[in-house]
Symmetry: C2
C-alpha cells in the first residue's frame, strides 16, 4: 500500500519556518537558512530548471526522497495565494510556474472549494475541503501504488502526525538556531511509533529518517 | 588555554528536561528518556560504580567527553538541594555520595554563599555567587591547563551560550518527543560561531559536536 512520507527541514531549536511568515516571505525571517543544504544540490536544481549544483552526502537522501512518489499532499499555505476564498479573476497557480516539478497529482488542503487546476507536465492540483483523511484517501487512490509525499507545511504535518497517519518521516536538521518561528512539533507529544532508522551526516545538515513499525 | 565544553541531552523537540522538575523528579516528566543512551553504556556505569553495560558507537563519544577535563561548572539546580539559602545543620552534598565521579574541582553557581565542600577522590565543590564569568575564571585557574566541562543545567548553559563563552558543544539528540519541559535554547538565538564539526549516529541517539572558530 502507498505509504505517507513526510519530509521537512528543521532548525536545531525545532523551527520549520522563521517568524513573520507572509506571502512575500513564505519561509519567515531566516527561514531560507533551513533550505540552504537543498538548494545547493544538483539533484534539487535540475528538476527546478536550474543548472549546476553540488553532489554530496545529501544527494542520495534527496534522490531517495523524490523516488517512488505517486502523489503529494500539501497545505493551503504551502500552495500559497492570499488567504481566504480563491480569486476567480486572477487565480493563484502555486509558486512553481506552468510546469511544476511534481509531475503527479497534488492535493491541497483548504477550507475554500475550487475546481482542480491542470498544469503542464502531469501536475494537477486538486483542492480538498473535507480534511486530512479525505485528502489521504484521494491521494492513495491516485498514486498508482506508489507512495505519497506529505510536503507540509508544519500545520498540516502536525495534523497527520497527531493522527498517527505518517508512515515515514525524514527530518533535515540544519545545525543552526532560528530563535523564533513556527515550531514543527508544537502540540505533538507522540511520534506514534515512528522510530529512527537511519542517520546521514552532511557538513551542513543531518538527515534523520523515522519509520513506523 | 582551557576550553569550555558544554554537553547535554536534548529531545527532538528541543527539551533538555521534562515538565514539572522537582527535587524528587529532577529530570521532569519523561526526562529520564533523554539519558537512556548513556546509562546503558559501560563507559558511564564504571565511573558510577555500576557493573556491566554496552559498548557501541556512543562509547567513544562519552570517553571523548570525559577525557581531558580539569574542572566542572554546574548550576545550583544540577547540584541539587532545597532552593534558597543552604541549610547548615544538614548540608546537601550533591547527588553523588561521598566519592563523586568528578575527581576534580567543581564550581557551583548559586545566589547563596557557602564554604567549599571537600569530598573524597579529589572532588571539591566551590560555591560561586558572583556570576558565570567569575566561575569560568576560577575554573580556568584550577583546571591545570585541561578543559572545563559545563555540566548544565539548561539555564546556566543558556547564560554561557548567550555570552559567547562556550568553545565546544556536544548535543546528544534523543529521537523522541517530550512535548513539554525545559527548552534548551529558549531565548538563545545565536550559536556565536559554534559550527557542526562531527556527527555520530548511534541507534538510539545522535551526537552532534559543535566547535567555535
Amino acid at each position: 500500500m502507498s505509504r505517507l512520507r513526510f519530509r521537512i527541514s528543521m532548525s536545531l531549536d525545532g523551527f520549520s519556518a522563521g517568524a513573520e511568515q507572509s506571502r512575500k516571505d513564505p519561509l519567515g525571517i531566516g527561514g531560507e537558512r533551513l533550505h540552504e543544504w537543498v538548494v545547493s544540490l544538483a539533484a534539487w536544481r535540475a528538476p527546478h530548471g536550474l543548472e549546476g549544483g553540488e553532489v554530496n552526502q545529501s544527494s542520495r537522501v534527496l534522490e531517495e526522497e523524490l523516488a517512488n512518489i505517486g502523489a503529494t499532499i500539501m497545505g493551503r499555505n504551502m500552495f500559497g495565494g492570499h488567504p481566504g476564498p480563491w480569486s476567480s479573476s486572477q487565480p493563484w497557480k502555486g509558486w512553481w510556474g506552468d510546469n511544476p516539478p511534481f509531475h503527479h497529482p497534488v492535493f491541497v488542503l483548504t477550507h475554500h472549494p475550487r475546481p482542480p487546476l491542470v498544469l503542464e507536465g502531469g501536475t494537477t492540483f486538486t483542492f480538498v475541503t473535507d480534511g486530512i483523511a479525505a485528502a489521504l484517501e484521494l491521494a492513495r487512490s491516485s498514486a498508482g501504488g506508489r507512495d505519497i509525499a506529505l510536503a507540509g507545511g508544519a500545520d498540516i504535518a502536525r495534523q497527520y502526525l497527531s493522527a498517527g497517519l505518517v508512515d515515514e518521516m525524514e527530518l533535515h536538521v540544519a545545525p543552526i538556531l532560528l530563535g523564533k518561528g513556527e515550531r514543527l512539533f508544537d502540540g505533538v507529544a507522540d511520534l506514534h511509533g515512528l522510530r529512527l532508522v537511519r542517520t546521514v551526516a552532511a557538513p551542513d545538515v543531518i538527515h534523520l529518517k523515522f519509520r513506523g513499525s
